[in-house]
């Protein structure tokens, strides 16, 4: 029994890759097969496409039992990082392969592979496990740096250096550096969105265009505000890329890998706001908005109802919070300017004061206030880059989440429409039965039968699509929430630490001033 039941670990593991990509994504055809342990919360095997599996012909239960010991032996040397608790192993071993991969026969796969590539692959794959009980072992770091203006006048643009450091095998090198421009990033997002949004993946949105900001840079205005704009954009681009690669599916997308690795990238022209594609996008957006209002979906799934409402609320509150933080940044900058101005004025006052000790104390006060003004400036910077930008990112991300929910609605609507069409055809078929035109009848009957068969297939596909997108969304939302917790926690801690530093500096400055004030005699 056990022998029969022993599918190659690789074969199975290979199959597990596709649990994430059940809709037949061909991502693994060209690249090295990498392994991914699904999250403990992933759906059950029962929801997998019911394909005929040559390897795992028996029920799940038996497989689980028999693999408790053997896999442990096989994986022992390779899998130091992952706990080999059975709950984790079960899903891996009990599902069937996806149709997209060529099933590998047990015999060839077994021992030789294990010696050579498998161990490596397992090690690397475990590095790629994004969320598991042992913490984050995801290993890739992307930096966007060195903004440089290329060209002159209105055709000028900012080029950014993108450096990727990783030990993951899907990349050719451990460290790659390429140069990219803003439209390249937009192009990447546009491709990812067109590939993944409609099947329920939350694709992180790219940073927004800014005609005003960019024009200043193009025109060559070398002032503080354009430097700030470039820094803001650089930071946003970096966060965008990190968010994109943190997504286990997007990370392996060939467009992403090409973006990070190839030295030359075809110019993404369709991202220009006033291009044909840009206008088409706007038209589509408008059409979507109208559709959203007209589709009335019977939500049978309470989870979706609840989540949808939650995201609406979250959206509202985050926007409010973002607005308040932006206002704080603005006022702190103002405070910094006014403090500097007061410092100068206090220095002047100290100069004209004819009592020596008081004069000195006033000059000291002026110095303290000058230092404090710089402190306020730094704090405003932290307010912005840590807190405000995070909130802005999440407001945009939630828009992406909401659009994924909308896609599900569209999928449902399409399915329903197909169903209605099928029904109509069936009705016309029934009518034909009672019609009295023998010569045309047979031909018409055959035609309709064909159409009906086709529609039946479509309806089935529509239902599958709907169930698939629903499942994907559930997973995506769960991943999104986990990411959100980590993200917010990390940023909030950093932000609070910046506030702590400010207060500590304030204490230092005022403690130094106090004896000076007391020394006034």
């Amino acid at each position: 029994m056990a022998a029969e039941m022993e599918p190659p670990p690789l074969g199975n593991a290979g199959e597990t890759d596709f649990r994430e990509l059940e809709d037949g994504e061909d991502l693994f055809v060209s690249t090295v097969t990498t392994l991914e342990y699904p999250e403990p919360s992933s759906p059950e095997p029962a929801s997998l496409p019911a394909e005929d599996i040559s390897i795992n012909s028996n029920g799940p239960k038996q497989k689980d039992v028999s693999f408790d010991d053997d896999p442990e032996d096989l994986f022992a040397e390779a899998t130091e990082e992952v706990s080999l608790d059975s709950p984790e192993r079960e899903p891996i071993l009990s599902d069937g392969p996806s149709p997209a991969i060529t099933p590998v026969t047990p015999t060839t796969m077994l021992t030789p592979r294990m010696d050579l590539g498998a161990a490596d692959m397992f090690e690397r794959s475990l590095d790629e496990i994004e969320e598991d009980n042992n913490g984050d072992t995801f290993d890739i770091h992307i930096a966007v740096s060195d903004p440089e203006k290329v060209g002159d006048g209105m055709n000028a643009y900012m080029g950014y250096k993108v450096t990727t450091k990783t030990s993951m095998t899907i990349f050719n090198k451990n460290e790659t550096t390429v140069r990219r421009r803003f439209s390249d990033f937009l192009g990447l997002h546009s491709k990812l969105a067109s590939k993944y949004l409609h099947i329920g993946y939350i694709v992180p949105p790219a940073p927004e265009k800014s005609i005003v900001g960019m024009t200043k840079v193009k025109v060559g205005k070398e002032d503080l505000s354009s430097a700030e704009f470039v820094e803001k954009r650089r930071s946003a681009l970096e966060r965008y890329l990190m968010r994109t690669v943190k997504h286990p599916v997007l990370l392996k997308d060939p467009d992403v890998i090409m973006f990070l690795e190839s030295s030359e990238l075809p110019r993404a022209v369709s991202t220009q706001a006033l291009s044909g594609a840009g206008i088409l996008r706007m038209v589509n957006k408008a059409a979507d908005a109208v559709n959203k209002m007209t589709i009335k979906m019977n939500e049978s799934d309470a989870w979706f109802e609840e989540k949808h409402q939650q995201f609406e609320n979250l959206d509202l509150q985050l926007r409010k919070l973002h607005a308040s933080v932006e206002s704080l940044v603005c006022h702190r900058k103002e405070l910094s300017v006014n403090t500097a101005s007061f410092a100068k004025s206090a220095a002047m006052l100290g100069n004209s004061e004819d009592h020596t000790a008081l004069s000195r104390a006033l000059s000291q006060l002026a110095e303290v206030e000058e230092k404090i003004d710089r402190l306020h400036q730094d704090q405003a910077y932290a307010d912005f880059y840590l807190f405000s930008e995070l909130l802005g990112d999440y407001v945009r991300l939630i828009t992406a989440v909401k659009s994924v929910f909308d896609q599900r609605m569209k999928t449902w609507s399409k399915w329903q429409d197909t169903q209605l069409l099928l029904q109509k055809k069936r009705e016309s078929e029934a009518k034909l039965q009672f019609a009295n035109k023998p010569d045309k009848l047979q031909q018409a009957k055959d035609e309709i039968k064909e159409e009906i068969e086709e529609l039946e297939g479509k309806v089935e596909q529509g239902e599958k699509d709907f169930e698939l997108i629903s499942k994907t969304i559930r997973k995506e939302v769960s991943r999104f929430e986990k990411e959100r917790v980590k993200d917010f926690k990390a940023v909030i801690i950093k932000y609070l630490e910046s506030l702590v530093q400010t207060q500590q500096q304030l204490i230092k400055y005022w403690e130094a001033f106090l004896p000076e004030a007391k020394a006034i005699a």
Binding site: L335, S345, L358, L362, I520
Partner: protein, 395 residues
């Protein structure tokens, strides 16, 4: 006379309070468009009917008293304590009205909270105006000469309305022209070089000092306003955090609920910092702006007297040369001389006392400012560190 330092609200420094005459504002009532101050006096002086009594006065009556000092030639040689600024609740009242109009568009909690904030603001302004009026009276009561002024006693004791109406349009115009003439004259007078080094130095000093205090006062006001705005923002952030805490059902929720009390307290501390800066720095500068103006006015009067004296001298010489109206010219010259010398003598002391008061007041307020800033920064630090500890320990 001895140099004196006055009790007050930190603007002037405390000294043993003089038992012969103690004045304070024991109560105040804010009505629709006026404030009624209850002026309370305790005195062992024989000229008062009782030892302790109170009267109700309004702002215009304080101004009347101040103006009577200024117009009194006898007091030309003293720094007249600056008049308190008019109570200004307009901004606050406007905000309160806007709040009432916008009541329908916000939640009950938001409305109550905003109302409380505005009421606190109104109260703060109210306290300040009471303090300003009180300081004026205390300064007068502590001045060895002014405290004996008859108008002052009437002000303190007469329990009926003084029937001092505010200036009408014509009188305001007259005042305006008087000021124009005075400043033009002041420029002329200031141009006259003084033989006396002390006064020459004081003139130069006061002119520059007054302008710089004016600038510092304006800049400190602006700085404090920004500070208040930032505190308000932090408060709004706290409110939204609260809402998020109640709505969010994910793990992030616990962060919202931990951050809300933190930001709420932080905003209160920031508001307190702004308020303390206002009290210890802005008010100090505003007061010395007014006092330095009063000192300048004293110098102007002395300068005027000096010019009159010199003119009288010239007139006397001319009269002696012509041998006509010599006696008249002599008397006139003597009067001018006496006036000038009297002013000079008291002015010197007044200016020395002004410096002493100023230095003491700045010292007190700067020390208190630094101490309060430290207290608040330490408070903030403690709150932040404890919250961080909780957040970090929470994995």
């Amino acid at each position: 006379f001895l140099s004196y330092l006055l009790f007050g609200h930190g603007i002037n420094v405390d000294l043993q309070t003089d038992a012969t005459l103690q004045v304070d504002i024991s109560d105040a009532l804010s009505e629709r468009d006026k404030v009624k101050f209850t002026v309370h006096t305790k005195s062992t002086l024989p000229n008062f009917k009782q030892n302790e009594f109170s009267v109700v006065r309004q702002h215009e009556e304080f101004i009347w008293l101040h103006d009577s000092f200024v117009e009194n030639e006898e007091y030309a040689g003293y720094i007249i304590p600056p008049a308190p600024p008019r109570p200004d609740f307009d901004a606050s009242r406007e905000k309160l009205q806007k709040l009432g109009e916008g009541e329908g568009s916000m939640t009950k909690e938001e409305f109550t909270k905003m109302k409380q904030e505005l009421e606190a603001e109104y109260l703060a302004i109210f306290k300040k105006t009471v303090a300003m009026h009180e300081v004026f009276l205390c300064r007068v009561a502590a001045h060895p000469v002014l405290r004996k002024d008859l108008n002052f006693h009437v002000f303190l004791e007469y329990n009926q309305d003084l029937s001092v109406r505010g200036k009408n349009k014509r009188e305001k115009m007259e005042d305006f022209f008087k000021n124009v003439v005075k400043s033009a004259d002041g420029v002329l007078v200031a141009g006259v070089k003084d033989v006396d080094d002390f006064f020459e130095h004081e003139k130069t000093f006061l002119l520059e000092y007054h302008n710089r205090v004016k600038d510092a006062s304006a800049k400190s006001d602006r700085m404090i306003r920004s500070h208040k705005s930032a505190a308000d923002d932090i408060n709004r952030i706290a409110s939204t955090l609260y809402t998020l805490g109640t709505q969010d059902s994910t793990d992030v929720c616990k962060y919202w609920t931990k951050l809300f009390p933190l930001f709420s307290k932080l905003s209160k501390i920031e508001a307190r910092v702004a308020a303390d800066e206002d009290l210890k720095l802005a008010d100090l500068l505003k007061y010395y702006l007014r006092e330095s103006q009063a000192a300048k006015d004293l110098l102007y009067r002395r300068g005027r007297a000096l010019v009159d004296y010199e003119n009288a001298n010239k007139a006397l010489d001319k009269a002696r040369a012509k041998n006509k109206d010599v006696l008249q010219a002599e008397t006139s010259q003597q009067v001018c001389c006496q006036k000038f010398e009297k002013i000079s003598e008291s002015a010197k002391q007044e200016l020395i006392d002004f410096k002493t008061r100023r230095v003491a007041a700045f010292r007190k307020n700067l020390v208190e400012l630094a101490e309060l800033e430290l207290k608040h920064a330490k408070g903030n630090l403690q709150l932040l560190q404890s919250c961080l500890g909780v957040l970090k320990g929470d994995t």
